[in-house]
Structures are given as structure tokens and as C-alpha cells.
Symmetry: C2
Subunit: 426 residues, 2 copies
């Protein structure tokens, strides 16, 4: 299959003064990549005519698909639609379907249907308009070779302009843009992805462990390492050249090489794996947190449906809470300190008893930047896991700033718990 190249143009002053992080481009790159489209560049420009024009012109000259977000609101700083109209030598006409949609959207807020909003149903006469189910700005497709009904050949044939509001953009991508591109470029049928999620092994060690297997992969399959917070997702993909059976055969060969570290064979996070397992086995969990300060709890209740297994937590930031709510002995705090094996064990057992859960996880460490010592440097985190079978504990070391240390410690508390469950089964 011919490689389809895409470029994303993010439009908006707020992106260039550092006020808003461009998560749109990241999300779009991810789903385009999954759909077999290679993103070669992301360009972020201001709400400025010349900047938008230059970015569009450059992108159209070098890639097949150009996706723009932003600059489609009704106020005067939103100029994307006008610039695109001029660039594609077309003009604005009223679209009755968009007009009806916007009226329906604001039926309970008639004050919004003012002259500014009325610009939203003016659309370029030479563009294909796709509906924006949740917002007023329509999605505009400038398809240069629409009549051909064939795969894109050559360069710069399709530009799609979407709203920049993340929620609207995601719905637009999923419900309109990806289906449009899939049909238009005949992308879909043959793309196969298989995911293997691995925890507790550095990327470089993992690469050495599966080196031979990776080297022998057929050319029809592509392997990607996707590391994040100690988790590595291996994604094996075929874009039309291998069968599902052939890919599954490779995955079956891979798994035994890394079996003690595999926490999932689908595209999920460790907390999703844990949540699913607890839900299915009708077991419950609680946490007692010091340094992670609620971040472990937040991971456990990130998913809808978490109330089935997640009971609650005690954030025992101050030692008095460790002692009086969780029952950590005053002796332990005085002798071993709060960042110690004895303390986290008692925290885990204490919260498990208090909240009547099957499992409990506890953390206590030094998040920094202050509070470290030679013996217990910043990044030292003790983690304990308690169940009816007993309690285990481990001393971990994390690097980075305060936010990274606490986030990575929270992820490790779940990841290492999953590895323990896997070891038990094997």
C-alpha cells in the first residue's frame, strides 16, 4: 500500500503564548497513525492571515492530507474560514442544513443566535460540508480530486478544517473525518494492530530481550515501542500486507519471551487492567497514600464504573493521620520514620481493615524537591500491597521533578501489583 502522508496545522494565538498545550495535535497524530496515515509535521501558527496561508501552502505542496484545527469561531479573531476560501478560490454561501443545526443547537439560548453566530452557516461554495454534531462550526473538506473517486495520487489533494475545541475535534475526527478518509483513500479493511502492554522492564532491556524475534519479523509487519511512565506498549501493525493469522502467530511467539512482564494484550492502561480484573473477580481495593497524595486514588477512579471495585482512600499526609486513622504505631514513626517498610506495611494493612477491602496499596516517599537525605534521597518511595494472603513491600527510586516522581510512583503501585498477580498465576 502506498504510504499516505499527513500534516496537522494547529491555528490559534493561545497556542503560541504558552497558554494552551496542543493536545489536539497529539491525539490526532495518534489516531491517524493507527489508521495507517503517517504524520510528518505539525505546524502551529497564530490567527494571522499570512501565517495560515504560508502553512497551508507549504503543507499542500508536500503531503497528501492536511488537517487544520482552530480559528473557526464566530468572533473577529477567527479567520481560518476566510483564509481558506481565498486560498481555494471560492466564496461563502449560506448552508441551510448548517443553519438549521445551529438553530437547534441553541434552541434554549436564543440570545446566542446573533449576527456573529450567523456567520457559522456561511460556508465555502466549493467545499464538502460535514456536520459538527456538538458545535456550531461546520467541518470543511477541500478535496481537490473528488471527482476521480480513486486513491489519492500525487500530493496535497485533501485539506480538512475542523474546530479547535478538543471535544468537538475528537467527535469530528471519529464520526466524520476518519470515516471520510477511510472511504476516500480506501484505507480501512486491511489495517491490523496488535498490542502487548509490558511493565517493569526498561525499553532498552526489552529491546535486547526480543531482539532476535524482532529481527525475524516479516517486512509486512511494523513494530513500534510506545513507552510512558514505566509502561511500554509494543504495537505490531500491518497495513494491508499480512493476515490476522500471520500477526497473531508472531504475537504468540513474542509472549513467552516476556511473559513475566506482560500485563495486557490489548491497548489498555495498567489501571484499566486492574479495574477489569477486580470487577470480574468481584474484589475491592483501597489506598493509603502519603507522597502520592491522591494521585493513586485518582488513577483507580479514572474510569467510569470504578465504583464497582474502588472503595476509597485515606490520604495520610501528616503523621498524625497515619497514626490515628490508619493505626501506624508511634514507635514505627519515631524509629523507622514515615518513609520505611514498616510504615507502609502498617498503612496498607490499616486502610484495608478500615475500608473492608480485599486489597490495599500504600505509598510513602520523598517527592521533593526538599526533604531528601543521603540515606533516603528525593525519589525514594516505599510501596506496600496488602491482601488476605499477607503484605509485601518494595523500595523504589524515581527520578524527575515532584510531579513526575509522584505520578510514576502511583503508576508503579499499580504496575507492580499486576506483576505480582501474574507471577502468582505462572
Amino acid at each position: 500500500m502506498k504510504t499516505i502522508f499527513a500534516e496537522i496545522i494547529s491555528i490559534g494565538d493561545e497556542l503560541l503564548i504558552g497558554q494552551v498545550v496542543n493536545t489536539n495535535a497529539t491525539w490526532m497524530a495518534q489516531v491517524l497513525n493507527q489508521a495507517g496515515i503517517t504524520v510528518v509535521e505539525v505546524t502551529t501558527v497564530r490567527d494571522d492571515r499570512q501565517s495560515i496561508w504560508n502553512a497551508v501552502s507549504t503543507a499542500m505542496s508536500r503531503v497528501d492530507i492536511v488537517l487544520t484545527t482552530g480559528g473557526l469561531g464566530p468572533t473577529k479573531d477567527d479567520i481560518t474560514k476566510g483564509v481558506l476560501c481565498d486560498y481555494f478560490h471560492t466564496r461563502l454561501v449560506e448552508d441551510l442544513r448548517v443553519r438549521a443545526h445551529v438553530h437547534a443547537l441553541y434552541k434554549n439560548r436564543p440570545e446566542v443566535l446573533n449576527t456573529l453566530t450567523a456567520t457559522q452557516w456561511m460556508v465555502p461554495s466549493h467545499a464538502t460540508i460535514l456536520p459538527n454534531r456538538v458545535g456550531s462550526a461546520p467541518i470543511m473538506v477541500f478535496d481537490q480530486v473528488e471527482s476521480r473517486k480513486s486513491k489519492v495520487e500525487g500530493h496535497g489533494h485533501i485539506l480538512i478544517s475542523m474546530p479547535g475545541v478538543p471535544h468537538e475535534m475528537k467527535i469530528a475526527m471519529n464520526e466524520q473525518v476518519l470515516p471520510y478518509l477511510t472511504e476516500r483513500l480506501e484505507l480501512s479493511a486491511d489495517i491490523i494492530h496488535r498490542n502487548v502492554v509490558v511493565y517493569g522492564i526498561p525499553e532498552s532491556t526489552l529491546a535486547l530481550k526480543i531482539e532476535k524475534w524482532e529481527k525475524n519479523l516479516p517486512k509486512s509487519m511494523h513494530l513500534a515501542y510506545l513507552p510512558k511512565q514505566g509502561v511500554v506498549r509494543l504495537r505490531l501493525s500491518s497495513y494491508g500486507e499480512a493476515t490476522a493469522e500471520q500477526i497473531d502467530k508472531q504475537i504468540a511467539d513474542l509472549l513467552p519471551l516476556i511473559q513475566e512482564n506482560v500485563i495486557a494484550t490489548e491497548d489498555v492502561t495498567p489501571n484499566m487492567v486492574l479495574g477489569k480484573w477486580l470487577t470480574e473477580s468481584k474484589q475491592t481495593i483501597a489506598t493509603a497514600e502519603s507522597c502520592t497524595g491522591g494521585r493513586l486514588a485518582a488513577l483507580l477512579n479514572e474510569q467510569s464504573g470504578s465504583s464497582a471495585y474502588y472503595m476509597g482512600s485515606v490520604i495520610a499526609y501528616d503523621n498524625s493521620v497515619k497514626q490515628h486513622v490508619l493505626g501506624v504505631k508511634a514507635d514505627t514513626l519515631a524509629t523507622d520514620g514515615a518513609v520505611s517498610e514498616a510504615c507502609v506495611r502498617q498503612m496498607a494493612e490499616g486502610v484495608r481493615k478500615l475500608l473492608h477491602t480485599d486489597f490495599a496499596i500504600a505509598t510513602s516517599g520523598i517527592a521533593g524537591p526538599t526533604g531528601g537525605s543521603e540515606e533516603k534521597p528525593v525519589g525514594t518511595v516505599w510501596i506496600a500491597w496488602a491482601s488476605a494472603e499477607g503484605t509485601t513491600a518494595e523500595c523504589c527510586h524515581f527520578s524527575g521533578d515532584r510531579a513526575q516522581i509522584t505520578q510514576n510512583a502511583a503508576m508503579a503501585a499499580i504496575g507492580k501489583f499486576l506483576l505480582q498477580q501474574i507471577a502468582k498465576k505462572q
Copy 2:
């Protein structure tokens, strides 16, 4: 003062497959903007020679300062240094200071000092090398008019290449790059920023409220609205044309117009304001959370030093925890439900008593996407604030997805608490 234009080039395959969010560019844009440098474009390219070359070449032709991050590691996919060497017609030479620094950096890990790492102390002979205090890749400055010792005139005169590791980049920017640019471009002396942080008023309402004041601002001052999670930061800046007294006079005129919503007159977050106030007044706080699930606790302990005022929290996700740990009446849960005024009041009072704090905040709501009803739709969150003076509660409504609702509710719990304290003082 002449406007200095900059462009950021972010280099790395991981940014274009959607694996990593480009937070570097956002952070850099923010600090550059504060320093009076206007970022006109962010370009994200792959670890690919032609892509890097094109981006550098285009950027050098249109801006004064080009900042690149990424592609400086020791492995073969890191090619930025080589491409820049060729682009600037220079060659690599050994730098003994960098060599000594890298040896010191890895003194406890001699296995890292291999042939790959040795490439880190090879630097372009025509570049100024600034030290990377926390990493092995040096910061390279290609300053085209260094000898002139004057302000940059014309375009494309300075390119600075930094590592892409966020932690290393931030230290490099703060300790090396910004001081270098400040001296080189004679930036510093005249830039004045004043911040006013406002909570509890939508941006558009705020704009109307201060419309007259804003219209009468002298041309020497620039006002920016920086909204985030219900907080709006107003930043009034002068780049060399107004005095501190003139700006302070304008701020003094502004404050009475919005006094009931001003939570700070410096660049801080609501949780920083709260933390400072509690530290100074030697008071303590705790939280009892249902729907926010630890996110409010995490905000309260985000800052180093939070152990002075933040005691801990009970995340009462399950009703049994609300009842047995926090003392919410079974009656209340049966009659009013968990998302009710009566429930959050008892939660706040319960955790305040349990953890012996001066203040307590409680949340209970429907984070979605499931669990909503006509009476209590998704996004409904009850928040209560308890102190020795009594307890208050408010029903709030948030929009967005599960993550946005819980984050905004956590921020509101702090923001609205601050507004209450302000109202008391007035």
C-alpha cells in the same frame, strides 16, 4: 523596543505518532512571551535530515531567534547535531569541558561511558557551548552576528539547540538560554508584568466589567486574558515603554472593579494562594472527596512545603466509607442520596473532626459519563466547606468529559473557598 520574533522547532518521531504531548513548546512559549519575545510559530518535525533542514532553513529566514529541542541523544536516531553542523558549515570537535562534565555526571555508572556517550562531547567548532547542568547533551548556540555585540538586526541570527528531555530543557532555558538572550538582545531591564488572578467570573463577563478601563489603557501597555479551569489571569505588560509606577496606577484602578473576584495580584494558582494563606496563618486543611477522587487532595499537596497545612484526606468513593469513616448518616444517604447538600456537609464536618483540622472541603457529584439523571445530570457537583465558624455548601455544574468535570470541580472547591475568605474580609 523592536519586537523580537522567535520560532520553536520540536524534533522527535515520538511527537508525530502521538505518543508524547509537546509540553516543551508550550512551556517555552510561555517563558519567551514573558521575556518579551513573540513566538510566531511552533514546528514539530521527525528525526529526519530533510525535515529538520527545511524547518531550520524556513525559520532562519523569517525570525530573529530559533530554538530547537530534541534529537541530541547519543543513539543513531538522534541526528539534530549533525544536521545543524552541516547547515552552519561547521564540523565536530572534542570539547574537554563537556567531556569532564559527562564523566562527572556518570561517575557512579561507568558502564554508561561507552562509545555512544563519547559522541556527546563532540561539539560544532563554530558554536558557543553552554553547559547542560543535569544531562550529557550540551546546549549549542549558533550566533550569526556574535561579534557585533549589538541588538539583533534583520532576521535569523541566532539558533539555539537544546535537549528535548523536559527537565533538562527547563533548566537549560532558565539558567542558560534566557540569560544569554537577555544579555545578547538587551531584553531585560524594561519588561514589566503585573498579574491579577480572578476566579468565579466568566471571561466574557469579566471583559464587559472592565471594558471601559481596558479601552482607556495607554498604548504602552498590553493586556492579556489567560483563562484556565475557571481561573482567569489578567496580565498587564509593558515592554520598555511604561514605568512601574504607571502600570501600578492602572492596576490600582482595575482592582476595585473586580474586587470580589480577585484572588491574587501575582502569577500564582489558587492552590498556591490557599497554601500561602494557611501557612502564614498557621491553619490546617483536609478534604473528603467522592467524585473528585483524590484530585482535590493532589492540588493541595502539589507544592513542596504543603505538609505545613495539608493534613490528609478521606476519599469516600463508596457510600460505606462516607458512612463508617466520615459519619454520614445512613438516613441522609437513603433519602437525599450521596450527591446532596446534606451529604457533603456531613462529609466536610466528618473529615474535619477526624483529622483535627481548621478547615475541610468535601465534594460529591456525578462525574459521568454514566450515572446522570434528569434531576442530577452529569456534571452536578455539591461542594461543602467546614470550619469552626460553621459549614457552607453550594451546588455547581461543570461541563466536559469525566476528566474535565473532576478537575474543574477540584479547582472550584479551592477557588470558591478563596472567594468566601475574600468576602469575609470586605
